[in-house]
Subunit: 382 residues, 2 copies
């Protein structure tokens, strides 16, 4: 077993669960009667409790961000490229907390959890969520862990939106906010792709308005298709050209050989979709994409991002990727412009990368260098 | 009724049908026992028979490109912006021929036609098609109409691919080739979106491997979803931002009002999908997207576009649109580069337009001016 021997890995990690009996009042006005959060930690909390980092996950993410759950695990946590000894979020210096958000399907209270009022899974009756609900539940976790102030709150994509929301909801509880490949709100095109994904799920007769959860079925085809839609938008045209081009997996384009033609990219997408549908909950996917759609950082600040960020007190690192067309560099520049106008300290890097939106998960040298250099500032006396 | 009074309209037009009893040998090696083509013409063929223009349609197009079928028709043909008196394809000068391609579902022989061997609709057994099959059947139509040589063969998107194929299959039968918003082959990203569309159809249980045709059902949800996927890619991020932004059609983003939120863009997409699914045949959609996937202009010329175009003898106009990310200007520039290297006369314009791939159907002033100016060269003594 070589994985744990890797000096850049946090090694074997064990998820923990915390349960809060206090109801959580949600943005929609409803209350979650109790909340369980599953989380992992990497590194050690220092005596001053000043070196804690919160990782916020994206649409389909979870608490397992780094290391391995057991020696035979094939792949490490989803952000292992960035979390570990000597990595940008250096676990020799930081105490890193990564949780599964409420509404998720990896152990925290969500649509697959039991609704105490009915004794059955919440399913489609799970209350709608906003990013601020995640931030509020993450603050409870901070309280529980005795962390008054995060050295940094960090997230990519939907995780970056949570990090920004932290800077407004709890301005005194974070020193740094790292926003990677995110946006202050979705564009119409983004809304459209999320709608396609949800319609793919709704169109699967097994979904049955989310009631599949009460039977022994999953809307596998709809969920696979939804994931395929998402996946295409996470990759760039360039990345797909480099990775697949027009290579065939089966058959031949010679005339007279029509039946078995299969392009590599088709096969790849079907595989990704099918893998995902066996691991993710469809009600959760619907819930998460809606929270993403409804996120609008400045809505209640007169739609003025400068006014919004004038409430923030932390420093910011904003990173975008050149070929990310789901959350393009233009969207990150809007964040930076608003931060500058609001007189907040901000560092910005647009990283040249072919990998599209997925770049934030990739070991791109300038990305890792920039991220690491910024993190040197974090957790000092600032 | 004002539509036919419009001096820029070709007015009321009537489709015609021609039937060829000779079998058509297809690229796949199979034969279509007989072929019916439905077509329309606009303008008059001159005595020299030298002013004929062929219009090749795109994925979901058909023969009805201009004018109205009857006085109460709400919308004119799909390319009415470009075909008519005083328009780029000026029907005072040209005899314009527009047909529904074989494999289509608007009257020409296709999956909804009766297979003479079985007495039932072809359905999923309709032979797979390549763009060259369309070109060969279009040549039969030219023979029937007594047109030895087209003044120009013109198409946008998949239509532009047919126009290019004409220049190689029948180099002596066209003087000009107009290729708008097209490419010499699809990118991996394009293949991926077509795969999503087909998977949406396949996932609809009503589709049943295409056998819905033998029952009184249509896979409406799958086809609607496929169209939604396509539609999102035909529009640009800019066009969607201008057209919809984050405007709501129903509900409110205020906290506590989650149930009825609907963005305009969601509603628009669902409407487009639902309209399409009542008008188009799912087997046809699968067939057409596959022909698009397999199109590769230079494949049998050692994958060398210069070698391919060295067989052409006509002049070319190539047009692209700045925000078209389905067939980007880069793809058009590759066509232009190959034509220049092959020593073919070529005129190229990249048109600034927010409308994405759909721009080729829109009345964009510089587009219409450029197209009109080029068409002045066509049909003279060149």
């Amino acid at each position: 077993m070589t994985t744990t021997l890797d000096s850049g890995s946090v090694g074997i990690v064990t998820p923990r669960t915390v349960r809060f009996d206090q109801p959580l009042l949600l943005a929609c006005g409803r209350e979650l009667p109790d909340v369980e959060l599953v989380y992992e930690t990497y590194g050690e909390l220092n005596p001053q409790r000043s070196n804690a980092i919160l990782i916020c996950h994206a649409l389909s993410g979870h608490h397992h961000a780094a290391g391995y759950h057991h020696e035979d695990e094939r792949k490490p946590g989803w952000w292992d490229e960035c979390i570990g000894p000597g990595k940008p979020i250096d676990t020799r210096r930081f105490f890193v907390v990564s949780l599964n958000n409420i509404g998720g399907c990896h152990g925290s209270t969500g649509p697959t959890s039991i609704n105490p009022e009915t004794g059955k899974p919440w399913g489609p009756d799970f209350p709608p969520l906003r990013a601020r609900d995640w931030v509020h539940s993450q603050a409870r976790l901070a309280d529980y862990l005795g962390i008054d102030c995060w050295a940094a709150v960090i997230g990519g994509s939907l995780g970056g939106m949570q990090a920004m929301r932290w800077s407004l909801e709890y301005p005194d509880r974070l020193k740094h906010c790292v926003v990677i490949a995110a946006a202050m709100k979705l564009s119409a095109q983004n809304l459209a792709f999320n709608e396609l994904a949800r319609q793919a799920i709704f169109s699967d007769p097994v979904f049955d308005d989310g009631n599949y959860i009460y039977r022994d079925e999953i809307p596998a085809r709809g969920l696979a298709l939804a994931r395929m839609v998402g996946h295409v938008t996470y990759l760039s045209d360039e990345a797909m050209a480099n990775k697949f081009g027009r290579e065939l997996r089966a058959g031949s384009l010679e005339m007279g050989n029509e039946d078995d033609i299969e392009f590599q990219v088709q096969s790849y997408l079907r595989y990704q979709g099918s893998q995902f549908s066996s691991q993710f909950d469809a009600n959760t996917y619907v819930l998460m994409t809606r929270a993403l759609d409804y996120f609008d950082l400045a809505r209640e600040y007169d739609n003025d991002p400068v006014k919004a960020f004038s409430h923030a007190r932390c420093s910011f690192l904003v990173i975008s990727f050149s070929t990310d067309w789901r959350f393009s560099p233009t969207r990150s520049q809007e964040i930076v412009d608003a931060l500058i106008a609001a007189d907040r300290p901000v560092t910005y890097a647009e990283i040249e990368a072919d990998e599209g939106h997925d770049a934030f998960l990739m070991p791109i040298p300038r990305y890792l260098r920039t991220f690491s250099a910024y993190m040197q500032r974090v957790g000092g006396d600032d």
